[in-house]
């Protein structure tokens, strides 16, 4: 297969606003898949509802645009049925940290071999700019002229508390790094969470490329930062981290079995579930009822 991102393109033009970070996220995903030589017909993407989901159809792959907050369990079901596929769950910060918060917790804990792309634009954009847990506290939002009253969610410490086997943070303004992180995430055997700080020129005007350049740092630039040591990583973000946006590969733990690999019922079975759908003679099982 050629290294050609065109094969992931479709004729459908996305409806995002000019300058939306989603263009870069999609381009990065196409590059990552292409560089890894993963065919569109071996890729399964579940899309959430929100601006991220409005990109469904504009990337050539098998896919499902389902319900708000549910792209993660949908992707898990698809992955468990056929592990030959590269399965990606695409979701926004609203879907991930509000409507379907339970799923990210249990997906990380279970370590399913999928990649979760969180498009974090810090608001519910498609419904025209309501506050999410990641919107800055006190910022005036739709229906909240006096500002968002609740505290923000500390995503890094929250996700790290779950001991993710792969947790990276990218930025929609830095395609090069994003492609690298996505490739690493897709290759990682286990649940890969890639949170992408996404520019939203319509509802999050404060977050500009210039602001981001000034207030962000890649963990790779920090001396003695060891992303393979989860204890140290947790300790860093609990105690030493500065009030800036950290990006890069925050945590990567290898050798932790995936959910599927822990199932005694699937031990030694070479086929995938989809290949096994046929009549089964229950005669042997019936003996227990005699």
């Amino acid at each position: 297969m050629e290294n050609n991102t065109n094969i992931y393109n479709t004729e459908l033009i996305p409806t995002w606003c000019p300058g939306c970070g989603n263009f870069a996220i999609h381009a990065s995903l196409k590059s990552a898949l292409s560089e890894l030589k993963i065919d569109p017909s071996s890729t399964y993407i579940s899309f959430d509802i929100g601006c991220n989901g409005n990109g469904a159809g504009s990337i050539n792959a098998f896919g499902f645009k389902g319900l708000h907050g549910r792209s993660i369990p949908l992707a898990i079901g698809a992955h468990l049925a056929n592990r030959k596929f590269t399965v990606i769950a695409d979701i926004g910060d609203g879907g991930c940290f509000h409507e379907g918060l339970d799923h990210i917790v249990h997906a990380i804990r279970s370590n399913y071999d999928i990649t979760i792309l969180i498009h974090n634009n810090m608001n519910f954009a498609l419904t025209t700019g309501q506050a999410t847990a990641t919107t800055q506290q006190k910022k005036a939002m739709y229906g909240l002229p006096d500002g968002k009253p609740e505290r923000d969610l500390d995503i890094i410490n929250f996700l790290l508390s779950l001991s993710p086997t792969f947790y990276a943070r990218g930025y929609s303004g830095d395609l090069k790094t994003l492609v690298v992180l996505m490739k690493e995430g897709i290759k990682h055997k286990g649940c890969s969470v890639i949170e992408i700080i996404q520019l939203c020129p319509t509802y999050n005007k404060e977050l500009t490329p210039m602001w981001f350049a000034e207030y962000s740092a890649d963990v790779a630039t920090i001396k003695e930062y060891d992303n393979s040591d989860i204890k140290k990583v947790k300790n860093f973000f609990n105690n030493d981290a500065k009030d800036i946006i950290y990006t890069g590969l925050l945590s990567k733990q290898d050798g932790i079995p995936t959910f599927y690999d822990r199932l005694p019922s699937r031990e030694g079975i070479k086929t995938d579930l989809v290949e096994e759908v046929k009549q089964y003679n229950v005669k042997n099982l019936l003996k227990d009822f005699e």
Partner: protein, 569 residues
Amino acid sequence: MSLQRISLKFVGPSGQGINTVGKIFSKTLKSSGFHIFATREYPSLIKGGVASYQIDFAYSPINSSSKLVDLVCSLDKDSLLNNIDSTKENSIVILNSENTEEDHFSEYSKKKNLTLLTLNAQKIASENGGIEIMGNTVLLGLLARILSLKSNVVYEQLLENFKSKKIDTEAEKKCLEAGYNSPLFRPEYTNLLKVEKGLNILNKSPKFLTTGNDALALGAIGCGVRAFYGYPMTPATSIFKYLGETSKETGILVKQAENEITAVQMTMGSMAMGARSFTATSGGGFDLMVETISCSGISENPLVIVLAQRAGAGTGLPTWSGAGDLTSAVKAGHGEFPRAVLAVSDINSCYTLIQKAFNIAEKYQIPVVLLTEKVIAESLFSTDSLPKNIALERGLTQGTSRYGITDNGVSNRWLPESNKKTFLMNSDEHMESGWSTENAEEATRMVSKRMNKIMALKKEIPEPQYFGNINAKTIVIGWGSTKNTMIDLLKYNKEIGYLHYEYMFPLKTDFLKNLLRKNDKEVVLVENNFEGQLGKLITEETGINFSKKLLKYDGRTLTVDDITEFLNN
């Protein structure tokens, strides 16, 4: 009908082994040549409260519980007091009590002419080298003697039941014999129950004892289900248990999800990829799955959900039976989309209809809800065989547009596979390609296409089943477990007929309308809910109204006596 069947009830505090003695005795009866129907009633707590295990047995197949029992075996006084009203006249009551002299039941005993046998089973167990719980074994011994069963058959079943546990087999045997040879036994007790000696016709035993949920799980395994996603909720949970316990043999992937929404979404994902999978829950969990049902409808992704009904709204009567979720199954979900709703009644239909559910779901690419009830899910039925597997119909074809418009509304469906044409499934309104659209004409075309599938499906599904006298003037109409009671009733009442629905939606009504063409029939609706939910669906479809309705919604199932009494009034 008096003693063509005998009804025996174990009662006692929950968690004291009621379920175990019930199971052992059910198997003993089966091995002794009887057909049985055994049902559990228990409170929603782990220890304490009053639980019961009722076994009805006869020489011919039996499908429901009697309202009143011939024989009670109570583990303590309070449980007996709680159940004393469920005894027939002349019945025998065995009571385990430390104080064998005390008599709190003389009033009842006299009124109903009960024979009360009080024994201190724990003491007898300890005298025979057993521990406290073996008091239950003593009681089993005495019961076996009264019913002229062989004590070694009980012993075999006891060993079988505890084969994975370390038990003192010698003590168990001694306790069993002590009960069997109890001085309380009188030959006239056997006569009182009119059980003749020599009933043990071993070669006529039914072959299997299984619960509805086990039969349903077996049916699922039989039709190629490869994954089950669940979240605990009575009375669906034992499907999960059985599939989990057999997963090493079957290779089925069993996942306890973080909640019902996850379970149904994972099911959707696996079905979208092409692996047969399902989830099972009860009313509350089903409500959480409803948005996904609607999503399955518009995205045309096959989905199978087992809805195991219990009684009541909210948390209701969590461990009791009912059939009040039909309306919910038929109507649940926003927007308009096609679906199918099927309802089981016994182990045969549990086995077959889960397989049908998958065929319909895949062939028509729709959500299918399979209804069961606590009394079917958890009761033990006896049978000589389970039905044969039905052929898999997956409706898989090759094509180029996943949502192509067709006459019957069913589009090409192929599974994601390397080098196959990719497609997007979509819960947004979409074009034939799967891409989202908000175009009015396209929306009209797509909604119509999907709704057309209901007509196509309706052509395929069968009319309701008719049992009993075809010329009957009185016709009972029902669904679910009502059938089991009616089948038992029809053995004694040759004057009436019973029309049974197992395909609840779409609803077939031609047979019913033909039956009622001549205006000389009386129709009686019998349902285990308040509203007469099947009746409402029939009225909606045909305009036929039901003036005579037997509706029971107290968490208890309908008995032959309930229906007979109603019909006689």
